[in-house]
């Protein structure tokens, strides 16, 4: 098995919070190729034959296991598209950590489009953590366009944490979810953009099952001349509950567009959308300054807390 070099370790730390080979099942992909893989008795990882990517099969009743599938791009001029499909067996309860880090020191664009599909069988529970990160002093763009597809069968639940804090020049993040009876989908998104970056998020959730529910919470900070767009479409097609919450802080000359859409197609669908965009409130800065912080320290505290 190949050893990870210091750059690879650094990128893994940023996107998956691991400094070396993780425990449990994993598949590490670098510049379009799988470089390391491990399966377990309950989790199998198979390379797709028809297109780039992997199928991950998690046996029913698998408990307390984790799967890491980080992707690293260290070369410019590279457009990596990968399809990863997760088949999660009945009543399994696992943690899946994905994410992509781009280190681009070249003047050419580096792009990764990760398409992740989650098929959860009855009663399965998944915690899915996804981080996106870019760095490098080259003028080449760092582009990430992740797509997440979620199918929840009766009684299944999925919690998704998606974070993009730094260094990604352009991103379109799409999530499409279909929920059956007694399911729950919780999505927590944190985004920060700066410079001339653009970030667009689209959440489409179909609440098709009786007693299905979703809670989508997005918090973002747009700095400098960056632009963010948040689009949510939650369709209540049965007796269900949906709550979408979008909060954004704008700084400098940034721009944030929030387009909420909730559609109730059933008399017992209960849907709520809350959206707020604004700069850091002056009274928040004053309060923290009156506790001894400088204006800059106060701003950092507010931003760090907001994105926590």
């Amino acid at each position: 098995m190949a050893e990870l070099n210091s750059m690879e370790k650094h990128m893994l730390k940023q996107i998956a919070d691991i400094e070396s080979v993780p425990m449990g099942a994993y598949n590490i992909r670098e510049n379009g190729k799988g470089i390391m893989r491990q399966t377990t008795a309950n989790i199998d990882i198979v390379t797709k034959q028809d297109k780039p990517g992997i199928d991950i099969h998690i046996k029913e009743n698998t408990k307390n296991e984790s799967i890491h599938i980080p992707v690293i791009l260290t070369e410019g001029g590279f457009n990596d598209i990968v399809y990863n499909d997760f088949y999660v067996g009945k009543n399994a309860d696992v943690v899946i950590v994905a994410g992509c880090g781009i280190h681009n020191s070249t003047c050419q664009t580096a792009e990764h489009d990760g398409i992740h599909a989650f098929y959860l069988e009855e009663g399965a529970h998944v915690k899915y953590i996804e981080k996106h990160y870019g760095e490098g002093d080259g003028s080449g763009k760092r582009i990430l366009n992740p797509e997440t597809i979620i199918h929840l069968k009766k009684g299944a639940t999925l919690e998704m944490e998606t974070v993009q804090i730094k260094g990604v020049d352009s991103t379109v993040r799409t999530t499409n979810a279909v929920l059956e009876d007694d399911t729950n989908l919780v999505i927590s998104e944190r985004i920060m953009t700066h410079g001339h970056q653009t970030a667009k998020t689209i959440f489409n959730v179909d609440l098709n099952g009786k007693n299905s529910s979703t809670h989508v919470a997005s918090r973002s900070i747009a700095k400098d001349n960056s632009t963010q767009e948040f689009i949510s479409n939650v369709n209540g097609n049965e007796e269900c509950f949906g709550h979408v919450e979008c909060d954004a802080i704008i700084m400098g000359h940034a721009k944030v567009i929030s387009t909420p859409k909730i559609v109730a197609n059933h008399i017992d669908a209960s849907l709520v959308h809350e959206a707020a965009i604004g700069k850091i409130a002056g009274e928040q800065l004053i309060k923290l300054m009156s506790l001894g912080l400088t204006e800059q320290e106060a701003e950092e505290q507010i931003i760090n807390g907001f994105l926590k």
Partner: protein, 238 residues
Amino acid sequence: MLELQDICFTKDGKQILKHINLKIDEQKFIAITGPNGSGKSTLAKVIMGIFQPTSGKILLEGKDITHLSITERARLGIGFAFQQPVRFKGLTVKDLLNIASGEELKFTQACDYLSDVGLCAKEYINREITAELSGGELKRIEIAMLAAKKSKLTIFDEPEAGIDLWSFQSLIHVFEKMHAETQGSIVIISHQEKILNIADELILLTDGQVEKIGSKEEVLPLLLSSSQVCSRLKKEDY
């Protein structure tokens, strides 16, 4: 310890503070009272540096702090509890107590500050300072923060407002404990007689001016007569 010399403050063409002269000595417990709109909160904000006086001087322990920033005044030992506490999405009660005290508090220390204001640390310490907390809870957290800050001079702007469910006696106990522990001065803006009762000295502010500085017996009758309410209401209220 704090001296205001001929402080005036004008906003939007209206003179809100008019030639305020007063001294707050060390280890004193002072109450500032007066009718609504008399300039009490503005005076507190001028002391904290949130508003710059139009003219006049502010001295803290003999040092001229008139042109110092809020941060510099906070670091020199002035603390201010807002009348309407600020909400912070993302920051927790623990975060604010840590910022206020200037160190990472141990759970037991945070527990001491919170239990003094009638809140259970286990329940509150990781709660975010958002609209999910009631006005009364926010008010008590604000007081706990100021207790953790341990300032030489702490100003509370109407601390009793909105804390009905918690006993007045407990609030007074917090002030007394703080007073004893920090050996600092406490200034409370209040209308509440129970709070005015425990002050060493009362300052009556009327129409932006210091009308009277003295004991409760000297000041309270003047407060009643300066009130804008009609005589019948006064009779019923007092």
